[in-house]
């Protein structure tokens, strides 16, 4: 049987440099899933883009052939005319981009952008398309598809945008779906749901899938075939079972060894000490208004955060996990003063142990400057947080320049040093942000946050785009710095394994509320809340024999009205957070 897509000897380079992708070969058959894993910056994205011929302008395909075989014969994608290519894109092959935040037009409503695929390739009317899109939205886990349909990208959380992107790629039911890290921004329950959906679609339509991911658990759950890449080359390729079960290549082995996991056997931990809090969120709520459909209808109110109380002791790590769109980013941004909370909430920051707390949202100019030196943020979307017209070097040294630290040479040296520490080459300082891979950008973002030696860093999913080995490196770095400099982290993540490793306390959020809060071990040992349980159950494990228990996931991830009596909440009745045991709080009626 001829494979649906076959890639032969593909080499791609930028400008005059050596190729960044060399001699890559793989095939994807109908209905099959091929997982592309590998080091961050190893050329996975470039390879995928080459299939659709949407490489960056500076890139050239140096050699290789890409063939798409279909019922109508085979097409050599590499030599197709632009016009023929247009019919392939979006219709036969579609792609989920790695950075959904930037990949959506900022000025068009999500619904419009997604439906467009149907208008283009299925000749659907506006109404038909709308129905289909809404259905797909519901399937990718939008709690309120109607709202999503009318939203602009900036009104959605990172995970929601990613889901929109997924919906856009799948709605036309292509023959081949290229998914470039489709679930990085999704919490594990949603991830499970989305992966389930993809599988379902594969069963229904025989869609083939190229799945780029760094999450070996996802690979194990999804893939029939695995291709492991490193430095632009294929290290190992083959059926999932043997590759995962008994990796042959040293790199593969190294990679699998680095994969973190939720500790199986844990004992409850003592609660964190309550003294010397560096950051304190008291009753923080945030309500956004979304422009209504017409000028006459009242605007829609969105409660992103509802009465969030968080306390971060100095030198510790407080992790926030939770459903995508549950207000994690919002809480983090409020914590750093990027956005004001609704009246009533306050954020307190203590620069030094025992110092008078500063109200983050009522600071004088001088206080603010001092605060901004001490508190840094790693943004969830590294691409957007780097000015596209600023070389990385300037972006990196900017914090130092702002605060007038060091000479130019020193600043530069520090930038190089930081880059090296996050595993990037200082050569890259001269590049513009767009010339990096997703994972590289994420590391840039981390490096920049550390330039000032702050005392508090808010990390919004800092490692979501990193392969496990690099992630390991970064986590180690974070821990090192924390321990040596007494740094504190507010750490937002979806990956419970990462959280388990780095956090001193975990808060689980759902729909703007903290539903459970405890030290990680306590939490994993004795998860109380159905949603927490679902989260843990949904965490994929890099072992094909332990697939995700979708039933359990569905139960916890369902709407709050379906939860067991003690935990149930609606819009008006919200149970309060109760301390079940010391340091373990759960939102339930007691």
């Amino acid at each position: 049987m001829t494979p649906l897509l076959s890639v032969r000897d593909l080499s791609i380079g930028f400008g005059g440099g050596d190729p960044v992708v060399r001699d890559v070969n793989f095939d994807v058959a109908h209905g099959q899933t091929l997982a592309l894993v590998g080091e961050s910056g190893s050329g996975k994205t470039i390879t995928c883009r080459a299939v659709l011929r949407i490489l960056p302008r500076a890139a050239q395909v140096r050699s290789g052939e890409i063939t798409l075989n279909g019922p109508g014969g085979s097409l050599a994608l590499s030599s197709l005319s632009e016009r023929q290519m247009r019919d392939v894109r979006g219709d036969r092959i579609s792609m989920i981009f790695q950075e959904p935040m930037r990949s959506l037009s900022p000025l068009h409503r999500i619904g419009n952008q997604v439906s467009e695929v149907l208008w283009l390739h299925r000749g659907a009317s506006e109404k038909e398309a709308r129905e289909q899109v809404l259905a797909t939205f519901a399937r990718v886990g939008f709690p309120d598809p109607e709202r999503a349909y009318r939203s602009y990208p900036f009104e959605l959380s990172g995970g929601m945008r990613q889901r929109a992107m997924i919906a856009m790629a799948m709605v036309a039911k292509p023959e081949l779906l290229i998914a470039d890290e489709p679930t990085t921004a999704l919490d594990v329950t949603t991830q499970a749901q989305v992966l389930g959906l993809i599988k379902e679609l594969q069963r229904e339509t025989g869609m083939a899938l190229i799945l780029v991911t760094h999450d070996l658990g996802v690979v194990a759950n999804m893939a029939e075939h695995v291709v492991v890449m490193h430095k632009g080359r294929v290290m190992e390729a083959g059926p999932a079972a043997p590759v995962l079960g008994a990796p042959a290549h040293p790199y593969t082995k190294q990679l699998f060894n680095a994969a973190p996991s939720i500790p199986a056997e844990v004992a409850p931990e003592p609660p964190l000490p309550e003294e010397d809090l560096i950051l304190e969120l008291n009753g923080v709520s945030k309500t956004y208004t979304m422009r209504a459909k017409s000028a006459w209808k009242p605007d829609l109110l969105i409660h992103a955060c509802r009465g969030v109380d968080l306390k971060l002791p100095r030198g510790k790590t407080l992790a926030i996990v939770g459903e995508s769109g549950s207000g994690k980013t919002t809480a983090a941004r409020i914590a750093l003063g990027a956005e004001p909370p609704d009246p009533g909430g306050e954020v307190l920051f203590r620069p030094r142990p025992g110092a008078e707390p500063m109200q983050v949202h009522k600071m004088t100019r001088a206080e603010r400057t001092a605060f901004q030196r001490e508190a840094q943020m790693v943004f969830q979307d590294p691409y957007s947080s780097l000015s596209p017209r600023m070389r990385v070097q300037d972006a990196m040294t900017e914090p130092l320049e702002i605060h007038g630290i060091g000479t130019r040479a020193e600043q530069r040296a520090r930038a190089e040093e930081m880059l090296r520490r996050v595993g990037l080459n200082p050569d890259m300082l001269k590049r513009y942000p767009h010339a990096f891979s997703g994972g590289q950008r994420q590391r840039l973002s981390i490096a920049r946050a550390m330039m000032l030696d702050p005392s508090l860093i808010v990390c919004d999913e800092p490692t979501s785009a990193l392969d496990v080995s690099v992630q390991e490196q970064i986590l180690t770095l974070l821990e090192e710095i924390r321990d040596s400099m007494n740094l504190s982290y507010l750490f937002i993540s979806h990956d419970l394994a990462v959280v388990a490793r780095i956090a001193d306390e975990v808060a689980v959020m759902r729909q703007g509320l903290v539903v459970e809060q405890a030290p990680p071990n306590t939490l994993f040992h004795n998860p109380q809340h159905p949603y927490t349980r679902a989260l843990i159950a949904a965490q994929p494990v890099p072992d094909i024999d332990r697939p995700i228990d979708l039933g359990l996931v569905a139960q916890g991830a369902g709407s709050p009205e379906t939860w067991g009596e003690p935990f149930r909440f609606g819009d008006s009745v919200i149970p309060s957070l109760v301390e079940l045991e010391p340091g373990h709080k759960v939102r339930c009626h007691v």
Binding site: F97, E99, S103, S105, H434
Partner: protein, 342 residues
């Protein structure tokens, strides 16, 4: 709802600004020493024709020109009743033109709609020409399409308007039988609107439209091209490509929409700049638009006439700016006008 509230608020500011502008306009037209009637009286006296003097004196009293300036302003605007039942601008009484010896409303009546027609044609021309060419020049940057359109655009810009008009008229007449001057064949003047008349107006509009429009068109084209080029590298364009959109559809839907923002901001400027910008063109080409009227009125200090025309242009500008502000919000959902907390 927010939009509605904003629009209402914006309308309120517009009215406020209009008031300020009206004061300024009033000051400006009263700035040159003397007024039309005093000048007229002096001239009439000098030439021994005391016949007109009496009438001038009468008009002076009639339009309260003998009162203090602030009262004159209030009367002109219609905030306080004037003598002999002159009710002022806000009640639709535009006053009397001394120069033409007719009510202002009568004089500007025809010119207003012709102004609108000519300028509208120019605006439409600008958009019809500049939009596709700008997009094309960006999409095919550094090709002959790009270079040719730039060259023609700059050639248009570098030719003084009147010269351009002459050239177009002269050769247009020779080779295409395009009529010289005017806005319609005189036989259709005052006739009800028929297909023939429309055709005549259309043919007569060709040259003025091109002359008034070229500068705007080439400016818009070049700026649009630059803005488009910026957008073309953005990831969302790739997404659109990956959807399999045709280039034309993709370009107009996505990057154009983003690149359009500065032009929407400029909508307010479109009409007034064409009104004052086309004054000279209208004077030399003999178009019966409001520009030449304004020029005469200003030169002869015809208070009410120039005052009204200035207010009219100001009103157009303000409405334009208001529309552009509201459109900006509509066009770019990210825009909020709130201040930045510092």
């Amino acid at each position: 709802m927010a939009l509605l509230r904003y629009s209402i608020y914006r309308f309120g500011t517009m009215i406020l600004t209009l008031l300020v502008v009206s004061v300024l306009v009033f000051v400006i037209i009263n700035l040159p020493p003397g007024d039309y009637l005093s000048n007229q009286i002096a001239e009439l006296q000098a030439s021994g024709q005391s016949a007109g003097v009496e009438k001038a004196e009468f008009l002076r009293r009639e339009y309260a020109l003998d009162r203090p300036l602030w009262q004159q302003y209030l009367i002109w605007m219609g905030f306080i009743p004037g003598p002999q039942g002159f009710s002022g601008l806000i009640q639709g009484d535009l006053g009397w033109s001394f120069e033409f010896d007719r009510p202002v409303a009568e004089i500007v009546g025809d010119t207003l709609w012709l102004t609108v027609v000519v300028n509208l044609a120019a605006v439409v021309f600008v958009y019809i020409v500049a939009l596709p060419l700008g997009v094309l020049a960006a999409a095919r940057s550094r090709t002959w399409v790009d270079y040719t359109s730039a060259f023609i655009g700059y050639l248009g810009l570098a030719t003084p308007n009147f010269l351009l008009a002459l050239i177009l008229y002269y050769y247009g007449r020779q080779y295409l039988n395009i009529p010289i001057g005017g806005l319609m064949d005189p036989i259709y003047e005052g006739q009800p609107l028929t297909w023939e008349k429309l055709k005549s107006v259309g043919i007569h509009l060709i040259v003025p439209t091109i002359v008034i429009g070229t500068a705007g068109a080439s400016a818009m084209m070049q700026r649009l091209r630059a803005n488009m080029l910026d957008e073309l590298g953005k990831p969302y364009v790739e997404t659109a490509v990956a959807k399999g959109m045709s280039p034309s559809r993709m370009l107009t839907k996505y990057p154009l929409r983003v690149a359009f923002n500065p032009f929407v901001a400029d909508i307010g400027n479109l009409l007034p700049s064409m009104v004052s910008g086309s004054v000279l063109v209208s004077v030399v080409m003999g178009l019966q638009t409001i520009g030449p009227t304004l020029l005469t009125a200003l030169k002869t200090q015809d208070l009410f006439l120039s005052g009204f025309v200035l207010m009219f242009v100001a009103l157009l500008t303000l409405i334009g700016t208001m529309i552009s502000d509201i459109l900006l919000v509509l066009l770019d959902p990210r825009i909020r006008y709130e201040g930045r907390e510092t």
